[in-house]
Each structure stands twice: as structure tokens, then as C-alpha cells.
């Protein structure tokens, strides 16, 4: 092949190789980590350009620490997938009556991408892509006060979280919300 053709071939191959690498890397990292269940609140803005997704806020079980605003690191205690208690990293862990004694050891530390994702979310919330056909149903269930949405989160060893599933369970009455321990199931 003459030199000119080689240059064209290189310019055309570079994006293909690069994107292939990004895909392979994402795929490999997606296989690692532990899975946890987190209750959520949310709604579906139906963004047509970016695909259908649900944006939601986490109701981290027994959350303590400075929970106002941006959460960048979170210590998670418990046995996957059931979260016992969560603490904003850096905050002292408070021993509540009726809770098992603290080990002061995190099962895993969740970390937000530095500067947040493209929504500016830290660990306060996230977004979950859903199939077009399911979007309306999920939206209806999220609005139903009798149902509690549960996001299954896969937390990689480096702390990066990503949602891998959405389920619903009947909310216990009266609504105790944040205080309860997540149902292991």
C-alpha cells in the first residue's frame, strides 16, 4: 500500500480501535464489584435525545453525617446486598440505640466521579436507563405512594457505583422511610 493510503487507513482505524478499547474497558470493569440495594425516590423526564431514563434520589439507609448538598464519598456497612448503615465519609459514626455495635469498618466505600456526573450528581442521586416500553410503568410505580423503588447498585472495588436493576416492594405502613433497614430478599 502506498503511503497516502496507509495514512487514510490509520485515520479511519484510530476511532474504531479507540472506541473498541473504551468498550472493552467498560465491559471488563462492569463485571467487578459487589451489589447493594438502595431505596430511591424519582421520576422519569423522558429525554428523547439521550434515551429514556429515570433520575432519582437515593434514600440511603440510616444515613448520618453532613447530608446537605453534594455527597462525594459514602461508607457503607452491612452484608451485600443489605445495607445496615451509611455514613458520609469523614463524619463521626454515631452509635444509635438498638443498632449492632459499630466496627467502624466500611464494607465498601462508594465514591462519586470527581466533580459529579454530567447531571452534577454526587452520591445523592443518579440516573437509570430504562427500555422505552417500561418507562411509563416505572414512572407510574415511582409515583405510587404504596410502593418503594429499590435500585440495585453495583459498587466497583474503586468505589464507582452504577445501577444495574430496579425493583419495587410494598412500602410498610405507616411510611417509616429512611429509618428502616433495606430488605435483603
Amino acid at each position: 500500500m502506498e503511503r497516502k493510503s496507509l495514512v487514510v487507513a490509520a485515520a479511519l482505524s484510530l476511532p474504531l480501535i479507540g472506541l473498541g478499547f473504551v468498550w472493552a474497558d467498560t465491559h471488563r470493569k462492569a463485571q467487578t464489584g459487589t451489589d447493594w440495594d438502595v431505596p430511591i425516590r424519582g421520576y422519569d423526564p423522558r429525554d428523547l435525545l439521550r434515551g429514556h431514563y429515570i433520575t432519582y434520589q437515593y434514600d440511603w439507609p440510616r444515613l448520618s453525617g453532613n447530608t446537605l448538598g453534594y455527597i462525594s464519598e459514602l461508607c457503607i456497612e452491612g452484608k451485600a446486598p443489605a445495607i445496615l448503615r451509611t455514613t458520609v465519609a469523614g463524619a463521626p459514626i454515631v452509635q444509635e440505640p438498638g443498632m449492632p455495635p459499630l466496627q467502624a469498618k466500611c464494607a465498601v466505600i462508594a465514591r462519586a466521579p470527581y466533580g459529579g456526573d454530567d447531571q452534577g450528581n454526587g452520591l445523592g442521586g443518579g440516573l437509570y436507563y430504562v427500555p422505552q416500553t417500561m418507562a411509563a410503568e416505572y414512572e407510574k410505580k415511582l409515583r405510587d405512594p404504596k410502593l418503594q423503588g429499590i435500585i440495585r447498585l453495583r459498587i466497583r472495588d474503586d468505589g464507582i457505583v452504577r445501577p444495574i436493576g430496579l425493583t419495587f416492594r410494598v412500602r410498610p405502613l405507616p411510611d417509616v422511610g429512611q429509618g428502616e433497614v433495606s430488605d435483603p430478599r
Binding site: S5, V7, V8, A9, A10, A11, L12, S13, L14, P15, L16, G18, L19, G20, V22, W23, T26, H27, A30, D47, L48, L49, R50, G51, H52, N66, T67, L68, G69, Y70, I71, S72, E73, V88, A89, G90, P113, Y114, G115, G116, D117, D118, Q119, G120, N121, G122, G126, L127, Y128, Y129, V130, P131, Q132, T133, M134, I160, R162, P163, I164
Partner: protein, 397 residues
């Protein structure tokens, strides 16, 4: 040129039949199939939008990895087609080549979004865009020919830098008062706030991103086999720079409060613009190159003066008009007819707005309204006269 006109002219005896025939033959050889190009462009746009919505539909019937594999195969197939047809077409059709490049690059951009959707990952938006720029810049700048690819690349560059800027402010300025208002994402960063050493350097340089693309364009243009493409990149860079500066001035005029800190950013940006002006003048010592450099230097002055002078009705208005007046002067010097007329029109419109702003106290009385109305008519009349009488004849830029 229509056949009907040719017939009418030859019947009226304006041209003889041989001339009419020669015109027909010349037209047939040199005709630009604008309609066809428009259709090709429309087709490329439809395919691009279709790809986006196919990704957006997120079909659950097809597993994510299969969808991604189809997406990748489309890209590889189109890449193979571009490679195969290169140099094959007897008539080099700018827009067809550009359409193929546009589609393959659009497929690449949506591939990032597609991966995010399949693997449910999220990241700051500048990251996939930067990746896309790195991977596709050699292809787009190396083989682009027309407006389609030039605009796509410039849009990618400006969007990437503005998204990085946005992320940077969110990240580093979590608790710093900037631009007169707090950008507050909560005080819970746990020491993660890394205070940068040279924030103003960063902000000034990023503000000048489109101007830097101009340096790349002028320095490559003379050596390239596609000087027209690089001229388009340069023009886009200048237009975006000028509009950006004007936009800032308007934003000042529309009411911001004083923020002395911004002067530092402005100084860095102005230095960048002057450096770009010097480079443009050096690589293109023609009247057009000199005029371009002049506009950039005028822009640098505006950037520094705007935060210093203040932005009440009069100060901001005069600054804005001085900037566009200098653009009109540069256009006059370089014989850019359309640019001259546009600049005169913009100055006139700003002047009319200014007359209403200054008369706002009197508006209630009716007298101000009458004065502003008279001023409007006068300005419009003068602008049309100036635009017609002094506009240069169009020359090649």
C-alpha cells in the same frame, strides 16, 4: 441560470444563438447541483438523527452487547466504504465525502452514549466529548472539505471546552464566590476541593479556544491541499470569537455587578487573542489576514475594557458599538462586503436600543418615545445609506 431566461435574451437580441449555446455548454459543465447537495445533506442529517433516536429507544429485545456490536459494525462498514471510494469518484464531490465523514463521526459520538446506556455508567460530559475529539480529529481535519465537517469539528471543540469549564467551576469553585453569585454545591467535599494554582490562567485560555483553532487553520492552510477547508475553520473561529465577546458585552450591559476578579481572566484572554492575531498576520500577510488580526486585537481591547469601564447603558453601548465599528472598518479594509453590511446593521440596532435606554426616563412622558422614534428613523436611514454607498465590492477572502 434558467433556460427560459436564455431564450428570452436571445429572442430579444441581447445575445446571439451561438453565445446562448456556449453559455448552455459552460453551465452544463460547471453547474453546481445545489439541490442534490441539499438532499445529500438532508439525508446525512436524517441518518444522524435516526441513529440518535435508535440509541435512545433502548430496545430491550436486543441485548446491549449485540446493539453495541451492530453500532460498531456500522461504523467499521462505513469506514471501509470511505477507504474504498477515496479517489474513485471522477468528479470530487465535496458534500458526498463530507456527508460520509459526518455520519461516521456522528456514529462515534453516539457510541459513547450507547456504552453509557448499556453499562449504566455516567461521567462528566466533557470526558466522552474529549475522547471523541481525540479519536476523530485526525479524520475530520485530515479529510474534511466543506462546511459540514468544519462546523462539526468546531462545535465539538467549543462544546468540549465549555463543558470542561462548567465541570471545573462545579468542582473547584464549590465555595468560591464567582461572577457575583455563589456556585454552591454544598460544603461537603471533605477536603476534596483542590484549589488550583492558576485558575485565571485556565479560564482565560479556555475563553480563547476558538481563536486557537484559527492558528491551526492559518498555519496549515498554505501547506494543505484543501485550503478552502482551513479557511472555513479560520472563519468559524473568528465568528465564534467575535460572537462570544459580543455576548459577554451584552451580558454586562443587561446587568451584572462589578467583579474586579474578572479582569485577571480578561487579561489572560486578551493576551491569547493578541498572540493569535500575531500568528494570523504572520502566516497571512494579505489585507484579509491583516483585517482578521485587527478584529482579534480589537476584541482583546474590548475584553479588557468591558469589566473596567463598567456596563451602564452608555458605557456598555458605546463599547459594543466601537467593537462592531472596528469590525466594519476591518471589513472595509479587506473588502468583505457582507461582513461590512452586517456590522453596520448591528451598530445601528445597538444605537437604536441605546436611544430607547437613554430615553427610558422620558418614556413615561411620551416625549422620550417621540425622540427615540425619531432617532430610530434617522439611524435606520443613515445605516442603509452607509451600507449601500460605502460597502466594498466583494473580493475573495
Amino acid at each position: 441560470m434558467s433556460e427560459r431566461q436564455l431564450k428570452a435574451w436571445s429572442q430579444a437580441g441581447l445575445i446571439d444563438t451561438q453565445t446562448a449555446e456556449r453559455i448552455r455548454i459552460w453551465e452544463a459543465q460547471n453547474a453546481k447541483p445545489l439541490g442534490l447537495w441539499a438532499l445529500i445533506g438532508l439525508g446525512a442529517l436524517a441518518i444522524g438523527l435516526g441513529l440518535v433516536s435508535v440509541v435512545a429507544a433502548n430496545w430491550e429485545e436486543i441485548p446491549g452487547t449485540v446493539r453495541l456490536a451492530i453500532h460498531a459494525a456500522l461504523m467499521a462498514g462505513l469506514g471501509g466504504f470511505i477507504f474504498w471510494q477515496r479517489g474513485r469518484s471522477t468528479v470530487r464531490n465535496t458534500y458526498f465525502d463530507d456527508a460520509a465523514l459526518f455520519i461516521v463521526a456522528a456514529l462515534g459520538l453516539t457510541f459513547f452514549g450507547h456504552i453509557g446506556q448499556v453499562y449504566q455508567t455516567s461521567s462528566p460530559l466533557w470526558q466522552p466529548f474529549l475522547g471523541w475529539m481525540l479519536l476523530f480529529t485526525p479524520l475530520l481535519l485530515g479529510y474534511g472539505r466543506g462546511w459540514v465537517v468544519a462546523t462539526m469539528w468546531m462545535a465539538g471543540l467549543c462544546f468540549t471546552s465549555s463543558q470542561h469549564w462548567d465541570w471545573y467551576l462545579r468542582t473547584y469553585y464549590a465555595d468560591v464566590r464567582l461572577f457575583g453569585s455563589a456556585i454552591d454545591i454544598g460544603g461537603n467535599m471533605d477536603g476534596a476541593v483542590r484549589t488550583p494554582q492558576w485558575p485565571y490562567l485556565y479560564m482565560g485560555i479556555v475563553s480563547a479556544t476558538p481563536a486557537f483553532a484559527m492558528v491551526l487553520a492559518v498555519s496549515t492552510r498554505s501547506r494543505s491541499s484543501r485550503p478552502d477547508f482551513w479557511r472555513k475553520i479560520e472563519q468559524l473561529g473568528l465568528v465564534i470569537t467575535v460572537l462570544g465577546i459580543s455576548g459577554f458585552q451584552l451580558a454586562y450591559a443587561l446587568g451584572g455587578d462589578g467583579f474586579g476578579e474578572n479582569v485577571k481572566v480578561a487579561v489572560v484572554q486578551a493576551i491569547c487573542l493578541i498572540a493569535v492575531a500575531a500568528a494570523v498576520r504572520r502566516f497571512r500577510p494579505t489585507p484579509s489576514g491583516t483585517a482578521t488580526a485587527g478584529v482579534l486585537i480589537s476584541g482583546a481591547l474590548m475584553v479588557i475594557l468591558a469589566p473596567l469601564i463598567g456596563w451602564d447603558d452608555l458605557g456598555g453601548g458605546i463599547l459594543f458599538m466601537a467593537f462592531w465599528g472596528s469590525i466594519a472598518a476591518a471589513a472595509l479594509y479587506a473588502s468583505w462586503r457582507t461582513v461590512f453590511q452586517a456590522a453596520v446593521a448591528i451598530v445601528a440596532i445597538r444605537l437604536i436600543i441605546l436611544s430607547f435606554e437613554l430615553a427610558s426616563d422620558l418614556l413615561g412622558s411620551g416625549l422620550g418615545l417621540i425622540l427615540a422614534g425619531i432617532a430610530t428613523l434617522g439611524i435606520a436611514w443613515i445605516a442603509v445609506r452607509v451600507s449601500k454607498r460605502y460597502a466594498p465590492q466583494e473580493e475573495a477572502k
